[in-house]
Amino acid sequence: MVLLKDEKEYRGVLPFLRKGKCLVLLYDAIRPLLPQVQKPARYTGGEVNMTVKDPAKMDIRFAFCFADTYEVGMSHLGLKILYHVLNKEPNVYCERAFAPWVDMETKMRENHIPLYTLETFTPLDRFDMLGFTLQYEMSYTNVLNMLDLAGIPLLANKRGEEWPLVVAGGPCAFNPEPLCDFIDLFMVGDGEEQIVELVREYDAFKKKGASREEFLLHMAKRQGFYIPRFFRDSYFENGDFKALTPTRDDVPATILKAFLPDMDAADYPDSFIVPFTEAVFDRVSLEIARGCTRGCRFCQAGMLYRPQRERSMETLMKQAERLIASTGYEEISLSALSTGDYSCLPQLVRGLMEQHKKDRVSVSLPSLRIDSVLGETLEETRQVKKTSLTFAPEAGSQRLRDVINKGVQEQQLLDNVRDAFEKGWNGVKLYFMIGLPTETEEDLLGIPALAKKVTEQYYAVPKEQRQKGLRVTCSASSFVPKPFTPFQWEPQNSIDQLMDKQRFLRENFRMRGVEFNWHEPHLSFLEAAFARGDRRLGRVLLRAHELGCRFDGWNDCFRFDLWMQAFADCDIRCEDYAYKRYDLDAPLPWDHISCGVSKEFLKREWHKAEKGELSPDCRQHCHGCGIRATFGKGVCRTCG
């Protein structure tokens, strides 16, 4: 076999691979498949700023696994941050693997090609560690499918020392119970320092020749690490969850999230990998803040990432400069749960624009909040790039907005929209949620009514002044009760109820210039079950995988029938999870994990929701959510 037909093709990979012939052969095996699949560049790596190291000289090889397509994964900021911090370690090589799209998966299975990393075409089973990031529940089948494609046993208890250690982090690691059968270790909380701690400890243990069990036990005692095998689940006779208890005395019963108090001190990449083929978000993103001060009662991220921490303008300007120089991107986007709340947003936007004026770099602000400091900022972003405006009133009536603590006044929203239309915007996106606790028909009717008022604002602007072609898009997603929110005890609306509500809205949504779209309620139903799931759902997940479920979040791949079969085969009812109303005092399957927010606070918020009482922004008033008590004085900017 001629190994080097085109030597350049292997450059970056080959200097080291000459030694390990079989890796070169893997690439040779993949090559003939590439012309037969869509967007083959997703499977070949080699992008600008990809890290190149000699695997033979590494102590630890880490495969960062993203359980979705390349385009989605490469848009994810967490991947960029963790790839950077891991590769900064001189003895660690972090590489990437994504879920191959179905055409490629079929070809790989037909040709017995194991899932491999893009950096060096190394099969995943050769790595010390695989790290999955869990962004949303409906990617769980992809986690299993990726392990399976790599020929790695799915069940953690079937993997001996010869297999990679499988770890996972991300928002879903706050209630990881449905995945406990498959994952050796979860990382809970801010990942950038924690993951470095993990690989360093692992390296030390490996060098000592210690066993995996010893290593895991050691990690179980450290903040932010959850090792499911050291816990046992139990249930009441009626099937309700009872408790999760450590199997050993020396394992702490509660896992407190890892926490970075100072965002300026946190590491941030100097360069991003620039995909050849377009990613969903293909630009420089600056994480201007983590956490949120708003306290919307349905929002899990708002609770998990408390308190809100900002990066200073100075740090951000420096990061932007380096990233623009190293990537050649033409756009900077500001990222945060609530971008508009950043303390000196107008100054930052102005500063960035000034700094990059001559390079024609544009600045965009996604997830603009409805009551943000628009005015000036709005004007400025427009000079460079006209992004469509996004508002998330979430509920149609003031009453329901008060229940969910979305302290947004209709008049405010309309004023902002009017302002935007006057300044030449013609596109507005409105996000709503249906199936929220206490929702009535009246609340639902508020949704089209609000959309109507938005269009009226547009037509009220004189014709010569406004931009032609009004486009209002209203999206209604379905409420999913999530752990660690004041609504964690609430049932989800049934699929039938949600479909009725969608139908009702469609009928009331016939207006010019307005588009209404809604989410697949069946998917939300499963999401609700897995979001609040316990360990018993692991069996269902495995069964769904065996039946062929994957890419559940993608319309063309989602197979509700197979999912229902999986539940039936395991004799478990999805309804029992999604539609369950928990007692406020009942033990919850995620009680052993702590995001720093106390259950008492969540209960108080639940009661306030019932009465429709607002809890103002943390910046106005501290509600004693427990963060300060947990992480000490001074962690919250506002309450000291």
Binding site: R11, A41, G46, F276, T277, G328
Partner: protein
């Protein structure tokens, strides 16, 4: 002024499309800090054109790009600045500066020359090539926009030469007609993959598209 440069597309870079190439070059130009001229409008981009789109999966030694500058830059400096920021697999080999009135390379495109090397054993390669050239017409199925239609590719092929195991093709390659070698190869030799390299872009008279004037750096 403008810069016309010849570059290679090889290695892992053969797996992305022409659209991806445009984006990749745009960003490389930004990283190189060359004084590029930007277009007007809300999405300013470098004024950049390519002589011809290269089919996905095909290597090339002779792609040509044409970029407008907003200031002076020496061709040699441009070459070095770009090669320092391009990914493995894209490399500028030669460049020359021309003034704004210089005709666009795309307008002069007439033929492309490819070399195709079979990745496996192949019988009667010479006979097949000769037989093809003797034929008056040669119809193949072409898929475009979900529809398949019959296309006579014979008039688009001007040279098809077997040199040992290597096939050399000269085909029409203009804005209007651009024969992908893949179409011909898969019709002649079904099931057999080829490693295809574009080795020349030619003008109507057969002269290369990219020429350096005497004394120019490259």
């Amino acid at each position: 002024m403008r810069l016309i440069a010849e570059f290679e597309k090889t290695g892992r870079c053969i797996w992305f499309s022409h659209l991806d190439l445009q984006r990749t070059m745009q960003r490389a130009l930004r990283r190189s800090r060359a004084p590029i001229a930007y277009s007007q409008g809300f999405n300013p981009h470098a004024e950049l054109a390519f002589a011809s789109a290269l089919p996905l999966g095909c290597r090339s030694r002779c792609e040509i790009m044409d970029v407008k500058l907003d200031g002076e830059m020496d061709a040699g400096d441009f070459l070095r600045a770009m090669n320092a920021v391009l990914p493995e697999g894209l490399r500028l080999s030669r460049a020359r500066t021309v003034d704004d009135r210089f005709p666009a390379p795309m307008a002069k495109m007439a033929f492309a020359v490819y070399e195709a090397r079979p990745e496996g054993k192949i019988e009667g390669i010479k006979e097949k090539a000769e037989e093809f050239l003797r034929a008056e017409s040669f119809f193949v199925e072409k898929q475009s926009k979900g529809k398949s239609r019959e296309l006579d590719i014979r008039p688009l092929v001007h040279e098809l030469q077997a040199d040992g195991e290597l096939l050399r093709l000269r085909v029409t390659c203009t804005n209007a007609d651009n024969l992908r070698p893949e179409l011909l190869l898969s019709a002649l030799f079904p099931q057999l993959p080829f490693e295809v390299t574009r080795v020349g872009l030619l003008q109507a008279g057969g002269e290369p598209l990219f020429e350096l004037k005497a004394g120019e750096e490259g």
